[in-house]
C-alpha cells in the first residue's frame, strides 16, 4: 500500500513450513486447502539461505513445521543450517512419520525444543481425529524419546467439540509425558477448520467449563508445567491480536517459498505474496505488498481507526475479517464493536446444530 507510514519492526519468529506432506489428516489443520506438492518444495540450500537472511533480519527463533517436517529426508541438514545461522530451533511435529533416530540426530545437532501435537487423551478418539490408526501410541513413544534426550517438550492440544471436555485429562497426559509446557489451543476457523466448523465448534457451556478448568489447572500445577491457552474466539468480546500485528513480529515461509505474514494469509483473496526464490527475506519483509497491506494502523477504518485498543489487538484477525465478512479491512467481527458482531454468535449456533463427519485434510 502506498504511503504506509508504519514503523518497521524486526521479526522475532519464522515459521518454516518445510513440507505439506503429513500422514495425519486432522480436520483443523492450519495448512491451506490448496497444499503444496513435493516437487515444488524449496531445497536444502535455499532453506539455509533463508535462515541466514532471517537471522540477519533479527529473527531469533525458527519453528520447523509442516505438514510433518519428518517427511523431509534432509530435515537434519535443514535444522543444522538453522542452528548454524544462530537461530533457536523448534521442531513442530506430529510424531508420526519421523523416526527416533532422526530425533537423536537433531538432538545431537543442537535442537532446542520439540512440540508434539496430541489429538486427545483417549487413544481411540485421538486416532479418529487424526484419521490415523495407531497415531496416539506412536506419539507417546516419541514424546518419551524427546524427554529421554532431555530436550524440552511442549504438548500441543487442539481443542474442539469432541475433546474439549477433557482439558484436565490432556494436562494430566502432558505431565505424565514429562512436558514442561502444554498448549490448550482451541481450533481456529480458517482453511480446513473452517470447512469442518460444523463438526468442531464447541458449545458456549463447553467453552466456559474449559476456561474454568484451565484456570484451576494453572493454580494446581504452578511451577510444574506452563499452561498456555488459545481462546475460541467465536465466543469472545475482544478479537485476538493476530500474530501480534500484521508484519510486525513473525513471518511464515511456505514449502514452495512464498512468504506470508501468517499461515492463513493466503486465504485472503487479492494479496500479492513474494517468494524467497525471487527476493531476499529483508526485501520481502520491508517491501512485499502482502506485508504492507495491513501493517500498522493506516489501513484501518472505523471503529478501529479511533479505537484505543488499535495497537493492542490491531483490529483483530485479517483472515477472520475476510472469512466472515468478505472484506479483509473490516473490523474482525469477533470484536463487540464490529457492526456485524452478532453474526458470529449466529454462526457458532448454526455450527453446533450441524453435526457433520470430518472432512480430513488430504492432498
Amino acid at each position: 500500500m502506498a504511503g504506509n507510514t508504519a514503523a518497521l519492526h524486526s521479526p522475532l519468529g519464522l515459521l518454516a513450513e518445510l513440507t505439506h506432506v503429513c500422514p495425519l489428516g486432522c480436520p483443523y489443520c492450519s495448512n491451506p486447502l490448496e497444499l503444496d506438492r513435493r516437487a515444488s518444495e524449496l531445497d536444502t540450500e535455499t532453506w539455509a539461505r533463508v535462515f541466514r537472511e532471517a537471522a540477519a533480519l533479527g529473527v531469533l527463533q525458527v519453528h520447523l513445521s509442516g505438514g510433518e517436517p519428518g517427511a523431509r529426508r534432509d530435515l537434519v541438514d535443514i535444522q543444522k543450517a538453522a542452528h548454524a545461522a544462530g537461530l533457536y530451533t523448534n521442531l513442530i511435529t506430529s510424531a508420526v512419520g519421523i523416526t527416533v533416530e532422526t530425533l537423536q540426530k537433531l538432538g545431537a545437532a543442537g535442537l532446542d525444543h520439540v512440540q508434539i501435537s496430541i489429538q486427545d487423551s483417549e487413544p481411540e478418539s485421538a486416532d479418529h481425529i487424526a484419521g490415523y490408526k495407531g497415531a496416539f501410541a506412536r506419539k507417546r513413544a516419541f514424546a518419551a524419546a524427546v524427554v529421554e534426550l532431555k530436550i524440552p517438550l511442549t504438548v500441543n492440544a487442539v481443542m474442539h467439540r469432541a475433546n474439549i471436555d477433557r482439558v484436565d485429562e490432556m494436562v494430566a497426559l502432558a505431565l505424565a509425558l514429562g512436558a514442561s509446557r502444554v498448549e490448550i489451543a482451541h481450533a481456529q476457523y480458517y482453511g480446513w477448520a473452517l470447512k469442518n466448523r460444523g463438526a468442531l465448534m464447541p458449545t458456549a457451556e463447553q467453552v466456559e467449563r474449559a476456561a474454568a478448568a484451565v484456570a484451576d489447572l494453572r493454580t494446581r500445577h504452578h511451577g510444574e508445567i506452563v499452561i498456555d491457552a488459545v481462546v475460541p474466539d467465536y465466543y469472545a468480546r475482544l478479537p485476538k491480536p493476530c500474530v501480534g500485528g500484521w508484519g510486525r513480529r513473525s513471518l511464515n515461509v511456505t514449502p514452495a517459498g512464498k512468504v506470508l505474514p501468517c499461515h492463513a494469509a493466503e486465504s485472503i483473496a487479492g494479496l500479492q505474496f513474494w517468494s524467497v526464490r525471487d527476493h531476499s527475506l529483508a526485501d520481502i519483509w520491508a517491501n512485499s505488498p502482502a506485508f504492507n497491506a495491513f501493517r500498522g494502523t493506516d489501513w484501518m477504518r472505523e471503529p478501529c481507526r479511533s479505537c484505543e485498543r488499535r495497537e493492542i489487538d490491531f483490529g483483530g484477525c485479517r483472515c477472520q475479517a475476510f472469512a466472515l465478512t468478505g472484506d479483509a479491512r473490516a473490523t474482525d467481527p469477533v470484536c463487540h464493536l464490529a457492526p456485524d458482531h452478532d453474526t458470529v454468535a449466529a454462526l457458532a449456533a448454526a455450527a453446533i446444530r450441524d453435526d457433520e463427519p470430518y472432512v480430513y485434510r488430504r492432498m
Partner: protein
Amino acid sequence: MSEPTPAIPADARPRLPRGVRLVHNEAQGGWVLLAPERVFKADAIAVEIVKRCTGEATFAAIVDDLAATFKAPRDRIDADVSALLRGLADKRLLEL
C-alpha cells in the same frame, strides 16, 4: 501461588535448562531470554543475575558476587535475586 514461596537454598546451583538461552541481539534491542516458543526481554539487572546461573556457582556465591560487584547490601541483593530466580523457575525457565 497458593503456598508461600519457599526460600532458595544457599547451596542450590541455578542453571538455565536446555531450551533456554540468554542471547544478545542488536535488532531486538539488547538481551533476550529465548525459551520454548517464547521470548523475554531481559533488563540489565536480570542479565547480571542470569549470566551467573551457570550450574556451577551456588546461590550464596551468586549473591556474594553481586553484592560485591554492585556494592549493595547483601540482604537486599538476596531478596532481589530470590524473587527473580523463583519467577523464572515457576515459568520453567530455570532449574534450581
